[in-house]
Symmetry: C2
Amino acid sequence: MLPSCRESIKTAVLLVPKFARFDRCVHTVRLKPNYTSVNYNVSRGGFAHLQKQHLYFFRDLLGEHRMISDTIELEKYNVDWFNNLRGCSSLVLKPKTTQEVSQILSFCNQENLAVSPQAGNTSVVGGSVPVFDEIILSTELMNKIISIDDTSGVVVCQAGCVLENLDTAVAEKGLMVPLDLGAKGSCQIGGNVSTNAGGLRLFRYGNMHGNVLGLEAVTADGNIIECLGTLKKDNTGYHLKHLFIGSEGTLGIITKVAIQCTTRPTCQNVAFLGAQNFRKVLKTFKLAKQDLGEILSAIEVMDSATMEFIGEKLNINSPIGDYPFYLLLETSGSNTNHDSEKIFKFLEIALNSHFILNGTVAVEHAKINALWSVRERIPEGFNLCGHLFCYDVSLPVENYFILVDEMKIHMGSLADRVFGFGHLGDGNLHLQIETKEFSQQIKDHLEPYIFKRTAQFGGSISAEHGMGFLKAKYLNLARPPSTVNFMKDIKQMFDPKGILNPYKVFP
Amino acid sequence: MLPSCRESIKTAVLLVPKFARFDRCVHTVRLKPNYTSVNYNVSRGGFAHLQKQHLYFFRDLLGEHRMISDTIELEKYNVDWFNNLRGCSSLVLKPKTTQEVSQILSFCNQENLAVSPQAGNTSVVGGSVPVFDEIILSTELMNKIISIDDTSGVVVCQAGCVLENLDTAVAEKGLMVPLDLGAKGSCQIGGNVSTNAGGLRLFRYGNMHGNVLGLEAVTADGNIIECLGTLKKDNTGYHLKHLFIGSEGTLGIITKVAIQCTTRPTCQNVAFLGAQNFRKVLKTFKLAKQDLGEILSAIEVMDSATMEFIGEKLNINSPIGDYPFYLLLETSGSNTNHDSEKIFKFLEIALNSHFILNGTVAVEHAKINALWSVRERIPEGFNLCGHLFCYDVSLPVENYFILVDEMKIHMGSLADRVFGFGHLGDGNLHLQIETKEFSQQIKDHLEPYIFKRTAQFGGSISAEHGMGFLKAKYLNLARPPSTVNFMKDIKQMFDPKGILNPYKVFP
């Protein structure tokens, strides 16, 4: 038997987060986290342990250069982006083709070896790292763009394409991948689809269920599910591909995707606005939907505590002075003059109606980026706190900030700061609780309370980040028992031995 | 045992099609079709036959006024819209609540009674009528709108709401149901979702997978699957609702839906254009996507044979003179001046680039309707032919008209006319073959040839109409065996006795 998890001592090690937009963190020296299995007291499933003869099989299939078993090299695959979770896999496999994925899974299924699928490893709920010694199947070498059709706007590619690279490639044909998120420089499209990733412009372009025209996936026994259609309309039998969208690699590993790209907008505007209270934020939101209609592409919100947070941590200040709430609205269209006229007219009405107190509009690229950076750089401050408890929830838009207010009261002096920001257009709140340091007592005061209240407000305990490992135990708060039972039946059907991404999604 | 199918004699009967937009057909006297089971030589499944004690159960549950067993009244539920198919159900049940649907299905499952779910009965592939004596479960009384949230734009309603009524209700809040189709005056939203209906504006607003935020469905054993979320972002476990979207009532009966409406556009323009050949149609299509971008809401095409057809049958003439191809483009936006400027600029470029030979733009409501009617009234001519073989397929947009040309050659003198029109923006072709009368020989010459060629061109044998009864036998042309096997496994899981919509989808 090869080495398994035994150490649990924190060791100083240089971990380099890969997020392109978070590059200020690059040189932070971070402590290696404890093993997840120890920290969270998890019992290992009855999977086989990796043996030498298994390695021989994989070596014959991939060659040694597409396997990683060196302890130092393994580290970045075993540890999650937030540096909170750590598996102890002793093997990373890097297939290049669907056939190789199929052969790997078929063999693992036969040998009862657990597999942790990994794309860009940018999950913030521990969905992409092993919990024990699962074999890590990395899609990073499956990065071929197969075709871009500039008439239909469909791109077909392997699952390991990095989102930003894919978007750059389609941009040459006047197209845009209808998905944008902070981790775009590292995350892979297969991971995006597996987690039904949301991001900044879901409000305009919809989610993966609407934009993925087809996909190919390999189930636990190596069976290749071929649903790689490129047609906008295809109603021939069950729409199986949707089972793989958002199931976080527990039903199969996505190997290829076909995505409907949108025409790349030729002009953008961004407005940054200040409002007196959340009621007026909502009035502004409704006005924007009405007056900016088809060109509105993002609508973000943050509270004054968020602005204070980035002021303190990153020396970023509000571009319009201090207000209780801030809105960032983006428009994307095909005619600069038309869009500018619309946004300035909207701004005038919003000001005259006293929905907003102040605002600025950027029409030039540099100023647009400057305004967006106020919103996009918030996560850079996360690593500069004592400790930050981060929650990604959805709420009915009328109740969007109720949870922030309630958590301020609930936490009292336990928290240094409670703040909220996020994608207002989608009802997606990122709720943050800053404390001096991590404490189990504080965590127990937060969870499951925060999830219970989210559910009571008619919200979702995971908006865009999935369940992964960290939220899996709260599945019963999110879904009624009959639905959970159906999920279990489907898991049993697709992966009877449970080898695919174990300890994730299900409690 | 109650009466079952024995007659198969054609009887003259006044059948009144319910399509709001096809009201010119209303007074046509049509012959009752032969029984489907006889015409298509189908063997009845091993389901129980309806007994008196079953009727007592249903009477106790619903009362006699919500059951139909009168032969004349039953007819409109037993016969399909095209008047080609005829079941011989002796019972229609009209539940009003999810609980009643659950009790009906639970009982039918226990008694092994087959059920044919029926919404607006506007299927053109025989998906909504029984084949034998299945009990018809009609959702027509489940027509309550539960809530309309004008901030988030979400409408929640029962499955039996007629699409047009739903759209009228949300219009009062400045919203629009992101789905429009010819049958809107009769079809019900539950049927639309069950069949993943497409229609005229899918190009802009996407399909049901993108627009349905949540649904509630009842499985064969009466289990209520509760996925009626109203949030744009919710990633908590498997996305089960998508299994019910497009599975045509074979996995469960949808009882409620939550739909993300879009802001209702305040202005529309329609351009009607003539082009020399399909290559130039495609150039126009690409130009429109680029220059009309965010306001383009429909892009329809028809060939000269289609124009001749409606000229002969309906006395409708081209509003711009005769051309080999015609395009209809619609824009929908929030600013009349901006949209008009965009569409006139587009038209100027298209003319100057010789992509189009002629064109007219309508900005007024009456003229817009007049231009749309050229496209929308095509189906009115269908009942005025000797016989018309109708096919709804998707093709890669570059190959969109190849199949029309090929079928002209393939049919030779067997056909009086072969013509094609449809939703170019979605690659969705409606291919029609007009003959003097129905003949099995002609049908055998057409099928499965037409489906095989569609598949060979990379298309889909059912774009927006589903498989229903008529296309079920060609499932193996549309899906590889491994995928069909997965479909069967899922069917087995959700409906082990196969009582839900038997003889549909699967061969």
